[in-house]
């Protein structure tokens, strides 16, 4: 029996002429429904229909209709639908509302005006269902990204929903965190999950859907095999660390001696908190070394922070790229960089109106423009769809071919295999 059904549903965000969802007819039943598709294609909008955030939270224009657990989507407010549908969002930083974990899990129950005794029972059951009982008394601000997503899932499960919807819940996590979240989904009766990283998930799915240009179709096309690597010939020394100790507050890394060459791509891997970002920031000159010396060849350094979308502030995507080009005094054409990242169609759009994945691409274009001598990229494929990840690989190849020294910190094994000449593991204050 269908838990949720959408009938002829079309939806436009406020002020948008193109529909985010077009004529969607869909029934969702028990099991794990996996939703894939390019970013900006309508995955998030579709998922938000199931608990009425679209259209009630976003406004705009809607046609058609639907039901979830017998409730009409157009006339039932989200807060009522929340009893039947649980929703876990993409961003681990912006969905927790309480100071302490157990209070967080209880938040939805408080909204149901449940008596305290019953709340305690449910909080305990939900936390143990995700394997998070040990987190119970922790302060939310001290949790890692993976732990935050587990807590978000537990707080949804505490409300005992019929359907659990997750919008790219692991895209911001390291592999360990992602595995823990996916593992916690195993026992749930009905789940709708949107994700780019499909490895391991496809086997669990009872049904696979693709959302593209607002339309939903059955099945997911598997990604093509990566193209063969072109060999590189690294040149002279581009950067060097000599006996460097570094860290934002006290030494996190110590006694680091490393050399990178022009046209060489170095990948840094290792667990979160192990020092990858510290190493990149030290190399960029943003963090002064506590001991030792950092030497960089002259020329511009491109630096891509985690979550680069936050950089964007110009009225159009093109203006973002042009700003960097003007600053670096480069003769490169904005058109070329935009084309490389597949942004020509989006060049005139306001960057903050784009989807998370499109925004990330715009930010990468804005950062790597202007022929840098050194490119430092922190988790560049985080939250990216496969097509965008391929484009990023091409950009890295091009930069290296022009003699740019590239250092990237990443968990993405595909990216490492496709572009890295050398892999270093940063862990426990050491680099191997």
């Amino acid at each position: 029996m269908a838990i949720a059904s959408l009938r002829g549903l079309s939806y436009w965000y406020p002020g948008q002429a193109r529909p985010a969802l077009a004529e969607v007819d869909l029934e969702v039943g028990d099991g794990l429904t996996l939703v894939a598709g390019p970013s900006g294609g309508g995955k998030s909008s579709l998922l938000r229909c199931f608990n009425g955030l679209v259209p009630h939270f976003y406004g705009g224009r809607i046609k058609g209709g639907g039901e979830v657990a017998g409730l009409d989507l157009l006339t039932t407010p989200t807060r009522r639908l929340a009893r039947a549908v649980g929703f876990v969002f993409q961003n681990p930083e912006a969905q927790l509302v309480s100071p302490v974990v157990e209070g967080e899990v209880a938040f939805g129950l408080e909204n149901l005006a449940m008596p305290r005794r019953e709340m305690r029972r449910r909080v305990e059951a939900a936390l143990s269902a995700v394997g998070g009982l040990a987190l119970r008394q922790r302060r939310v601000t001290t949790l890692s990204g993976g732990e935050r997503q587990l807590v978000a899932l537990a707080s949804v499960l505490a409300m005992e929903p019929r359907l659990v919807v997750l919008d790219e819940p692991t895209s911001q996590l390291d592999p360990e965190g992602a595995a823990a979240v996916i593992g916690a989904l195993a026992g749930l009766p009905s789940v709708v999950l949107a994700e780019h990283r499909l490895d391991g998930l496809a086997a669990l799915a009872t049904r696979q859907l693709t959302v593209e240009e607002g339309r939903v179709r059955e099945g997911i096309s598997t990604s093509r095999a990566p193209e063969p690597r072109r060999p590189r010939a690294p040149g002279g020394v581009a950067w060097r660390l000599e006996g460097v100790a570094a860290g934002p507050a006290g030494p996190l890394l110590a006694g680091i001696d490393l050399v990178g060459r022009e046209g060489e791509v170095v990948a840094l891997t290792g667990p979160n908190g192990g020092g990858k970002t510290t190493l990149l920031r030290t190399l960029a000159g943003l963090l002064k070394p506590l001991a030792g010396r950092v030497i960089r060849r002259s020329g511009r350094t491109a630096y891509l922070p985690q979550d680069p979308g936050v950089l964007l502030h110009r009225p159009t995507v093109r203006a973002e790229v042009e700003l960097t080009l003007r600053r670096s005094g480069s003769g490169e054409l904005a058109q070329v960089v935009l084309g490389e990242m597949g942004l020509l169609e989006l060049a005139g759009r306001y960057p903050r109106d784009l989807s998370a994945g499109e925004r990330q691409r715009a930010a990468i274009a804005a950062v790597v423009a202007g022929s840098p001598a050194l490119a430092l990229l922190d988790e560049p494929t985080r939250g990216m769809d496969p097509a965008a990840a391929r484009r990023l690989r091409d950009v890295v190849d091009r930069l290296a071919g022009e003699g740019c020294a590239v250092v990237l910190a990443t968990h993405d094994r595909e990216l490492v295999e496709a572009v890295a000449d050398r892999v270093l593991t940063v862990s426990g204050g050491e680099v191997r």
């Binding site: 406020p14 002020g15 009630h56 705009g60 224009r61 809607i62 046609k63």
Partner: protein, 237 residues
Amino acid sequence: MIVALASLAGVALFLWPYLGLGPFPAAPALAVAGGAVVLLAAIEAAARRLDTRLLALLAALAAVDAALRLVLVTGIGGFSPIFFLILCAGFVFGPTFGFLTGATALLVSALATGGVGPWLPYQMFGAGWVGMFAGLVGLRWHSLPALAVAGLLSGFAFGLVLDLWDWSYLRGAPGAGFTPGLPPAAVIAAFGRFYLVTSALYDAFRAFGNVLMVLLLGPPVLAAMQRLKARFTLVVE
């Protein structure tokens, strides 16, 4: 309506030390506590009528302001980045929302930065009035220069109003503080002296800082708020 009533209570809170009532010893403490209670009740009563989205935006703007205060700690003189968002929120969403934003922004930033003091109810009223003023300006003249002028005026007015609280500590000091029984003109002259010496220059930084922030940062932030406002209409075909 609720905000107007609360504002009356606020005016009383600021002026009672000067109304020649015989002060009884527990009065200052009760005034602070009473002011806080009236404010919290007013915030709750007015927030009850808000859509969840607006209530959350309210809380969020307060959080942003608190974070700004953490990062930029204090500016030069009386300049503070927190008034900018209060002005914008009032301008886009109207006087009531402006008052709420001002009052909650000061409350949350005081909580987040450990700045809870007896001045808090006074600051909350002051900042609330700034937001309310921006809201009233927005209803009549909806343009960026009008908001800049509102920022300028409210920058001085906020300092002037809060000085009424500071000044009450100098009560009875001849020449410097308020002395009961003097004619109003003399009281105002004494207060004017106090204001000129302690605050005029300091407030100028706040006032011109507001103007600068509105002109430099206003357009994108106002546009973002307008986009949020656009979400409040839903068309079902």
